[in-house]
């Protein structure tokens, strides 16, 4: 072994330990640098490849970066999750705090509004109580607007934050591209390479906190970064750019390229922000809007059916939810084709109770934009689609109606419908004067002064004041009277002249009543009324048979088949559902009984004929008139009044429900139950009566003396049908003028716009008058109907009250926030664990470095000593020689 080699060995040790010391120094000084991976000098024994194969000291093999790719990747993943959840938690907590804020809590507003309404219901004439209702309505509007406004400003903040994060992502992507460029020519195991790698890991970590990325190593040192489902963000030195616009989402485009494609971003704080915006912020805003529309619409509908202190209908308490301006503002162009379309689109709210808290996208397809589909944005479901070239076009879906005017729609045009989202925008109080608050019902009921029964009539609800007898301000036209024709049957009549009520059109007569029961007075909305035409198949003298025999003949109703058609509300298809065959001569009563047996039909029958003349020569045989076999002999000089008295005096006829009413010139004979009226006349040939039926057709009956003509007539009656919604009647009669019914008889709406409840035991002849509420300023029916909304399930499916609907939103946000908090905590501890794992491998421990410092210093000293020993040996040797 040569002395020179000992010096060399010592020198190699000095050099190696110097390198180790400087690496330790590097570690100590970088201990606090984020992302720094500790380094270690790897030493190896230096061997000489020459003769002797002596050991030749130590050699620095390289500076090793203590690093575990899996641990770093895990940090990125966990960091992205934590950043996402932290952002979500932060944003959700803002909404959660906002909803907990009692000063804008809607439920407190609802409570106060309804409390004021209850107060006004207790004192309907008090202007102070009325004013309080208006003030609380304003307060409620302010709460809605406050909440909506703060949610919107949070959305604006969020949008700005998204924009700045997008900028930051683009910056980081650019830096990564540059690092890739710098690392390109470098080699691993180099100290400066290690620094750049650490820097790149740190950039990637920062990037993954913003957005979920996937890093794929490329070559020895290269690294490509992908977004979402493999959209390249950084490949080598090529860097793509992200853009974002509210409503359009995140898009990515290659450097210098205009073509962009959508990226779905889920992780990182950007993912958190976007998820919050899409899953919480927008739905809550839409829910608020739906609630505002539902509340304003429902309250307005009820308010409009009441009358004010001035005796006028209430109109809108809150601003009209379908003001033209609002209808137009609900639709926005969503693509260039839509922007260049000239058609004006608008959306009307028809039924807020079935509205869904979601936006919609309407897309027009086809060469002439004739096809359309409406897609619910919340879940992408197509709620309506079709094809229509006709303009203007109206499409109804989920409580809304889209209206397209006659302007042109370009093919491919897409519009966004934001009815719910803009719900709060038009929410305002329309009333100014507390007198205009409609707390009273428009109707007043009075019981007839001569009523003998114990029946009572009470108003239940007013539904429609735009059509029917309540249309027009400040009047019930005509005023109505309910008159019981028997304890089990009643008519509703036009009471314009209370001393002589007239039938309504369509007539509402013969409605059944169960004595002692309680039932709605009037047909419901949707029910339709139909009265037979009473013609016969011969087209002449309908339902009337004239004979000259004593035997009463049957009426002249011919064969006729009545078919009940039922329309399926789901498919709109009508199918036959039951039939009734009319045999010749069947009485109206029997026909009605048969029809009554069909589902969805209630029927009554009545026969009416007028005797408009009576002649008796006063000598010879007395005039005898037989009604349904009951012969009534009239003394000489009798008139129609006497005949009427004779008819009304007959117990048998009264029992059969047959009545007469005469004022001297005309006698009206009525069979209340629709039995045929068979009239027979006996007497001298000049004696007789003249009949006129409901259709103005007349018949002369003469006594059976010489030259006598017809002496017997049988008159058939009318059938009155009340048909349920979706039920129609068809007749097979083909004769001119039809049979008893026309081929497709038209049924008219039966509802009168309000409903009352009849109860007790009314007697025949009892009346109940329904008039406009002229003086009833203490009436509070409408106030109670409004106040009931506090607890009435009104909105959605299953229906919930307004306060409940809001509570559900608060609950939902609360649950989401709490969930996000728990998840964020879990993500934090996961991240801590993966950081701990990385730190365990790559982190700098100063005590360890201090020990290394001592160790390497000692090594350095020892190596230096080796050099000095070598020198001493050499000196000893020199002395020995000299």
């Amino acid at each position: 072994m040569s002395n020179a080699s000992l010096i060399n060995i010592g020198l190699s040790g000095v050099r190696a330990h110097q390198a180790a010391l400087s690496t330790t120094g590097q570690n100590i000084t970088n201990a606090a640098v984020p992302g720094y991976s500790r380094q270690r000098v790897s030493l190896e024994t230096q061997t000489s490849l020459g003769a002797g194969a002596d050991t030749q000291g130590v050699r620095v093999q390289g500076v090793e970066r203590i690093y575990d790719q899996a641990a770093v990747n895990q940090i990125r993943l966990d960091g992205a999750a934590k950043a996402r959840l932290d952002t979500l938690t932060e944003q959700l907590s803002q909404v959660d705090d906002l909803l907990a804020d009692q000063s804008i809590n809607l439920n407190r507003g609802f409570e106060q509004f309804f409390a004021a309404l209850h107060g006004a219901a207790g004192a309907p004439t008090s202007l102070a109580a009325r004013q309080l209702v208006l003030s609380e309505a304003e307060g409620l509007v302010a709460r809605f607007q406050g909440l909506d406004g703060r949610m919107r400003s949070q959305r604006d903040d969020l949008d700005r934050q998204v924009a700045s994060e997008i900028t930051r992502i683009n910056q980081l992507a650019g830096s990564l591209g540059e690092l890739n460029a710098r690392l390109g020519p470098m080699r691993a195991g180099d100290a400066s390479t290690n620094a750049l790698l650490d820097q790149r890991d740190e950039l990637l970590r920062q990037l993954s906190e913003l957005v979920d990325v996937k890093a794929v190593p490329e070559g020895e040192l290269g690294m490509s970064v992908f977004l979402g489902k493999g959209h390249p963000l950084v490949v080598g030195t090529n860097v793509s750019a992200l853009q974002w616009e509210p409503g359009l989402g995140v898009r990515i485009s290659g450097a210098g390229s205009d073509v962009s494609s959508a990226v779905s971003v889920r992780g990182g704080s950007l993912g958190g922000l976007l998820a919050f915006r899409e899953q919480t912020l927008e739905p809550v805003l839409q829910e608020l809007g739906r609630l505002a529309l539902g509340f304003a619409g429902t309250v307005n509908d009820i308010h409009a059916t009441g009358i004010t202190l001035r005796g006028e209908f209430g109109g809108s308490l809150f601003g009209d939810v379908n003001a033209e301006r609002l209808q137009a503002a609900r639709v926005m162009a969503a693509n260039p084709a839509a922007e260049s379309s000239s058609a004006k689109l608008s959306v009307r709210v028809d039924d807020p109770s079935v509205m869904v808290a979601s936006d919609y996208l309407v897309r027009f397809t086809g060469a002439a934009a004739e096809g359309y589909e409406i897609i619910r944005s919340r879940d992408g479901e197509i709620v309506s689609s079709g094809s229509a070239t006709a303009r203007p076009l109206a499409v109804s879906f989920e409580g809304l109606t889209l209206q397209v005017d006659s302007g042109q729609v370009r093919p491919g045009a897409e519009f966004r419908i934001a009815a719910a989202e803009r719900g709060v925008a038009g929410f305002s109080v329309a009333l100014v004067d507390p007198r205009d608050l409609a707390l009273a019902s428009p109707l007043a009921i009075s019981h007839g002064a001569a009523n003998r029964g114990t029946g009572s009539l009470t108003l239940t609800s007013v539904e429609d004041v735009s059509t029917g007898p309540l249309a027009g301000d400040g009047a019930l036209n005509p005023p109505l009277v309910v008159r019981f024709t028997s304890p089990t049957s009643y008519d509703v009549l036009d009471n314009s002249d209370p001393t002589n009520p007239q039938p309504l059109s369509p007539p509402v007569w013969g409605l059944p009543f169960v004595p002692g029961g309680a039932q709605p007075l009037l047909p419901d909305a949707g029910q339709r009324l139909l009265v037979s035409d009473g013609r016969d198949s011969g087209g002449v003298s309908g339902g009337v048979v004239q004979t000259s025999t004593l035997e009463p003949a049957a009426n002249r109703f011919g064969n006729e088949t009545l078919t009940l058609m039922r329309t399926d509300p789901a498919t709109g298809r009508a199918s036959a559902d039951g039939r009734v065959e009319i045999a010749p001569g069947m009485s109206a009563r029997a026909i009605a009984a048969a029809l009554e047996g069909l589902d969805g039909v209630s029927a009554a029958a009545r026969t009416e004929v007028s005797i408009t003349g009576l002649s008796d020569n006063g000598i010879g045989q007395p005039l005898t008139v037989a009604v349904n076999g009951e012969a009534l002999v009239l003394p000489a000089g009798s008139g129609l009044n006497d005949l009427a008295d004779a008819i009304n005096g007959s117990a048998a006829l009264r029992a059969a429900g047959i009545e007469a009413r005469s004022e001297g010139t005309s006698l009206r004979l009525t069979a209340q139950r629709g039995d045929d009226l068979a009239l027979h006349v006996a007497g001298d040939v000049t004696d007789g009566i003249r009949l006129t039926d409901r259709h103005g057709r007349t018949a002369e009956l003469r006594g059976s003396g010489p030259g006598g003509g017809y002496d017997t007539v049988t008159v058939g009656g009318d059938v009155r049908l009340l048909l349920e919604d979706g039920v129609a009647l068809q007749s097979d009669s083909v004769a001119p003028g039809g049979g008893l019914f026309a081929a497709a008889p038209a049924a008219l709406p039966a509802a009168l716009g309000f409903q009352a409840r009849i109860a007790g035991r009314p007697d025949a002849g009892d009346t109940f008058a329904i008039t406009f509420n002229e003086a009833g300023n203490l009436d509070n029916h409408n106030a109670l109907a409004l106040a009931e909304l506090q607890v009435r399930p009104t909105l959605g499916d299953p229906p919930a009250s307004f306060a409940e609907t809001f509570s559900r939103t608060v609950e939902l946000v609360g649950i989401r926030t709490s969930q996000a908090r728990t998840d964020a905590q879990a993500a934090t501890s996961l991240l801590e664990q993966s950081v701990a794992r990385r730190e365990a491998i790559s982190g700098v421990n100063l005590d360890e470095e201090a020990a290394n410092l001592i160790r390497f210093e000692q090594g350095y000293n020892a190596s230096a000593r080796v050099v000095s020993v070598a020198r001493e040996i050499f000196d000893v040797l020199l002395h020995a020689v000299s």
Binding site: A100, A450, R661, E663, G765, S818
Partner: protein, 414 residues
Amino acid sequence: MRISTSQLHGRALNQMLDLQRQAAQTQQQIATGRKFATAADDPLAASRVERLDRELAVREQYQKNIDLAESELRLEDASLDQAINLLQRVRELAVQAGNPVHTEEDRRFIAAEVDTRLDELMQLMNTRLASGDYLFGGNAGGRPPFVRDVNGSIRYQGDEGQRAVQIDGAIRLPVNDSGKRLFVDVPAARITPSAGPHPGNRPGDSASVAQPRVVDQSALDDFHPDALIIEFRPLNEDPDGLPNFTVRRQSDGRVVDGLENVRHEPGGIFTAAGLELALHGSPRAGERLVVQTSRTQDVLTTVAKLADGLRSVPVTGAQDAEYQQLLADTYSNLDNAMASILEARSEIGARMNVMDSVRSLHSQVEVLSTELKSDLVDVDFAKAISDLNHQTLVLQAAQQSFVRVSRLSLFDAI
């Protein structure tokens, strides 16, 4: 496991921050007395509290409504009590008037007091609520329900409306009774007529009819329940072109007792259906008057008729039957009126009972809901304070141990 220095610091710091957060939360719970501040702190409890809050608000409203209903019903009850007293007094006077030794002058004295009672009674029936609305006008609160028209007959111009107050989700409790029900629809001893203008008359029509006088009760009983329609006919239907009228039955429009195109002279008297009728005014053709017959008579008319009879029926043997009849009718009508009022009062009592039971139900539910809410919301202070003690203790320990551990460094030794 290897521990890096920054990890040592970071971990300790995180733990201390966490402990601090917990302590702050406990402190906030103690300061606010609430277990949670927002729905997110405990969504389940928050949603239950929200439901309870809604329930409590509604119940509280119902309680207020009950208070309101109670005050209105008490006022009505007190007024009815007074009405009974007045009617009792009138009945005493009627009994007194039956004393055969009374002279015409004695009767006039009694009549004078009956008049005073009548005024009092009318005033009572026109009682106003605190709001200024009339108590017994049904829903027509803006005008006095009972008025005397030009002919001295008493007319009810309220309606039959009944106001209700929501005292429970399912119960709307009526808080008033119309004067018509209480004082007008009183079963009468016999069929009585009442006359007035036809509702279809035009404004400015001048025809009027005096309170009809019954001259033939059995004819009237036969005629009931029909009504008379008196219609002024065109002048050309009279041979001399003078005002004339026709009387018809309401039920079928028949001319009554041949009264067709009868010459009209203001104040002229004619008889129909057992009634003596006098028409006033200078009516135009088409004007109509209605004479209803009824099994009821309002209590004011009963009292007014008594006063009228006391003054007008002479104290002679021949008229005595009429006088005795009047007194007998009056007793029976007054008894019926008092019965009708008592019935209404017992109904008011029943309503009060309903109110009381509903009120106590509300109170019970309120107590339960409040307790339930308190369990959910209110902090258990003993537990919270002991938690806080524990948390601060742990925090302190963490801080001290951190200081100790972090102070250790090998560098100090070299």
